[in-house]
Amino acid sequence: MAGPEPFETISSLARQLDDRRVSSRELVEDSIARIERLNPVLNAVISLDKLGAIAAADQADKARAHGAVSPLLGVPMLHKDIFCTRGVRTSCASKMLEDFVPPYDATVVRKLHDAGMISLGKCNMDEFAMGSSNETSFFGAVKNPWDVNRVPGGSSGGSAAAVAAGLASLATGTDTGGSIRQPAALCGITGLKPSYGRVSRYGMIAFASSMDQAGPMARTAEDCALVLNAMAGHDPLDSTCADIAVPDYSAGLEQSIQGLRIGIPKEFFSSHLKNGVAARVNAAIKELESAGAVIVDISLPSTDLGISTYYVIAPAEASANLSRYDGVRYGYRCDSPSDLQDLYLRSRTEGFGEEVKRRILIGTFTLSAASYDQYFMKAQQVRRLIAEEYQSVLKDVDVIAGPSAPNTAFVLNDNSKSITDMYMEDVFTIGANLAGLPAISVPAGFVDGLPVGMQLIGPRFSEAQLLNIAHQFQRRTDWHSLTPNLEGLTR
């Protein structure tokens, strides 16, 4: 019996498991073998829990034999290393937490485990989720499966590369300013950032608490819907997690999008956008139009303010969130500190990477008494303005469509790219984070062999509609089913 192909979707794997054409044990062993073969090049996975995964797979097979049915039961997956996993090292790709083993599971981890998914291990990422290229990881950069000389995007770069390379059909990601959508776009997969408060943040290592949100990264919108069904919902351990009912996200996927109003913000097609990308996204929008959607020109005039607003608020929150890494209770501690001040200074200087330290410094500055009003307060005001702009536009249109990222994947170690160039990667994604809105990135074609993503942004808690549109788009296109050629990629 031939085993399943590496690029199968969750839905397809679930069918094969149901029909006993394959066992969870076989899927897990195939995935592990594939990770062991490809990961030395890709560096997408930084912790592999072989024994745990195999034991869980056997349990899932047993449960299935006893009649258990769940659309996710026995399907292998990977977690971004920002989610705490009990007994499995959770590093946030930082030297600071290189040896940190949490005594508890993040709610997302628990929920997917309860739904029967098998965690294979943990994905590489930008250190503490700070970056758009996955180059800030303490464990080294991740390679884009479409071109190993290029970045996968970030910060959920390991997750995106893992799914794109068929290491697993699902990886979890987190998105604070675009960290699910931009790497999904750059790696040619589907990534959903839910509304703020849709998925619990408990056990997810905090970067910027008012924007951090977990979501699924998979091959298709259909798979994202299946996984969101299990991930979403109120959690008493997270006060900001909304106590509102979770709909069946799979139920409405087949609905027609006839008559749906889709707004195209002119600011998303500005000079930031690489030409080829604009063409692909426009073609994708045409596709939606031919499926019956009504295309409306709109404006989000504050789009350009997003980046500076975000880069005041996110570092401010991060500067406090990362204060706990002080070398006192757990995590990295410098050698033989001479006194308390030295312990703090050297543990943090040696334990954090450059980008993390830069953001802590920015955040500490913007919150200081002398600059609070000028920076932090001002940024909060602009954030409200941006959120109101989105809300008012979303009264006229059902969703907003545009590019997920201004570029396709860029080359690794590109010294010509300045820090602020890097920050511009988030220009189209940040608005949804500032406004707390759900957004999805779907594969929309290629430019010079590199994937392009189309982004759809909807009103708060409209994930079902976004998934419906994305699914209808994927029924009419096959960008999402194209896979990179990884033959001969072993080192």
Binding site: F83, C84, T90, C92, L97, F100, P102, P103, Y104, A106, R201, Y202, G203, M204, I205, A206, A208, S209, S210, P236, L237, D238, S239, T240, A316, E317, S319, A320, L322, S323, R324, D326, V328, R329, Y330, L340, Y344, T364, L367, S368, A369, Y372, F376
Partner: protein
């Protein structure tokens, strides 16, 4: 030149919730180090605070108790600083929008008058852990049991001019929070911690001088002392023409001095900002009214009632309402005795002396209010003389529970039977003719002195059980007419 002290207080009250303000760990005092902690208290990555609503209710109760405005919307903020006993590297507090806003708290003074103290605000915050310096030689240990314990910080205007006012305020605050059941107010265990901001100015001056902050002084006596020595220190500096440095100072009771802790000039910039992990606390009028309706009778109301309805002096009323347990004891004793004045005298007199002697608080009292009540009834119905009553009280204190039984056992019944007393008096007169003659010869003024001799003898003869009033009456009558 006469100097005037100007003081404002910041009091940290530990609220009496069973679990911490943002985690489910217990708050009990005195457990082994780090046994009352969970991943949140240790600030492990990914943990999130979840507000304990009991702390919010207690803060509202406090606000209503001091007649303050309750913030309809209040928020939590992060106060950022590094310290080993502060696990997150920030303290969750309320800076911008506290839960309790302005109010005026009426403080009774010794002389029975009322001293109004303006409350600026009271806000919720979490306590830090403790650094332990002596447990591991050469190292500092961290105990996070206390980390996350709910505190209410109560801030006043600089309304205090004397140490007596400060102590009176603290006592009234202590009484209030124990009445309300929102804090045990235990200063030695740190449930009530007081910082005094103190400056001096010349009398008549309207501007405030530069202040120093006296931190965490853990008894009323030390607070009084700290104020005194710090005022003297400031006065010496000012009179020598120098100026005060604004700083935090620590009172050292052993050397009876205050010492600089850290200068505000190099103090932290705490970088307060709204905590994104917590939602605003929104309190509607209905909730406030519900809580108001469930409040116990407040000390101020009790004080007034004791004076007007029970006819007690303002002084006694103030003393009896200083803590809820005493007031409750007194009220139960009133019910049992139906004599509020006598009940007040006993509670503030013999009972309080007995408690003091054994170092007990009223909750450790060995006499029940009902027992004391029936003792008072036996005085009022003439069964006991006040002297006998003291003996019965001792019996109650020693573990007796039935007053009549004690009277019986000790043979303490007062003899008021005229016939029995007449026999004693007649015998006395027959056996002491010389004194009787002397009595009849002297004038009324001197008679009064001599009658004491007869009373003493008669008492002795009756083994102390003679009713003194009746005895007196009989003696006067029989000695006066041969």
């Amino acid at each position: 030149m006469k100097w005037e002290k100007v003081m404002g207080l910041e009091v940290h009250l530990q609220l009496s919730t069973h679990s911490k303000i943002f985690s489910s760990s217990a708050t009990a005092f005195g457990a082994d180090a780090n046994t009352q902690t969970n991943p949140l208290d240790m600030a492990l990555p990914g943990t999130l605070p979840v507000l304990n609503h009991a702390a919010v209710s207690q803060a509202i109760v406090f606000g209503l108790g001091v007649g303050a405005e309750i913030g309809k919307v209040s928020r939590f903020d992060r106060k950022n600083y590094f310290y080993p006993d502060l696990p997150k590297g920030y303290q969750i507090s309320q800076f911008f929008e506290p839960i309790v806003r302005e109010g005026v708290f009426e403080v009774p003074l010794e002389d029975g008058s009322i001293f109004p103290v303006r409350i600026v605000r009271a806000h919720l915050e979490e306590d830090a852990g403790k650094s332990v310096h002596d447990a591991i030689p050469g190292h500092t240990g961290i105990d996070l049991n206390r980390a996350g314990t709910p505190l209410l910080e109560v801030v006043t205007e600089p309304d205090f001019r004397t140490a007596e006012q400060v102590i009176a305020y603290l006592k009234a605050l202590h009484a209030l929070v124990t009445y309300l059941g929102i804090s045990d107010g235990n200063m030695s265990q740190g449930s009530m911690r007081c910082d005094v901001n103190l400056s001096l100015r010349l009398e008549g001056e309207t501007e405030y001088g530069t202040r120093t902050e006296l931190k965490n002084i853990n008894s009323f006596r030390f607070i009084e002392r700290a104020i005194h020595v710090e005022a003297e220190r400031q006065q010496d500096i000012l009179e020598s023409g120098q100026s005060i440095v604004q700083e935090t100072r620590l009172f050292d009771p052993e050397n009876d001095e205050t010492r600089s802790m850290r200068s505000k000039e190099v103090a932290n910039d705490y970088r307060y900002f709204p905590d994104p992990d917590l939602l605003p606390i929104i309190i509607d009028e209905e909730t406030i009214e519900q809580i108001r309706g469930a409040l116990p009778e407040l000390p101020a109301v009790k004080r007034g009632r004791y004076a007007t309805e029970l006819g007690l002096s303002q002084y006694d009323a103030n003393l009896l309402t200083q803590d809820r347990a005493t007031a409750e004891f007194f009220e139960a004793c009133c019910t049992a005795s139906n004599n509020p004045k006598a009940a007040a005298n006993w509670v503030l007199g013999d009972l309080s002396a007995a408690l003091n002697k054994e170092g007990l608080a009223i909750d450790g009292c060995k006499v029940t209010p009902e027992g004391l009540g029936s003792l008072i009834r036996r005085i009022d119905d003439g069964t006991l003389s006040s002297k006998m009553a003291k003996t019965v009280f001792e019996g109650l204190w020693a573990g007796g529970c039935d007053v009549d039984r004690i009277i019986e056992d000790k043979g303490l019944k007062q003899v008021s039977d005229t016939g029995a007393l007449e026999t004693i008096v007649d015998e006395l007169i027959a056996n002491n003719p010389a004194q009787v003659d002397q009595y009849r010869a002297i004038d009324e003024g001197k008679q009064k002195k001599l009658i004491g001799f007869f009373v003493g003898q008669a008492m002795k003869a009756s083994k102390g059980q003679a009713n003194p009033q009746i005895l007196n009456q009989l003696l006067k009558q029989k000695l006066g007419s041969p």
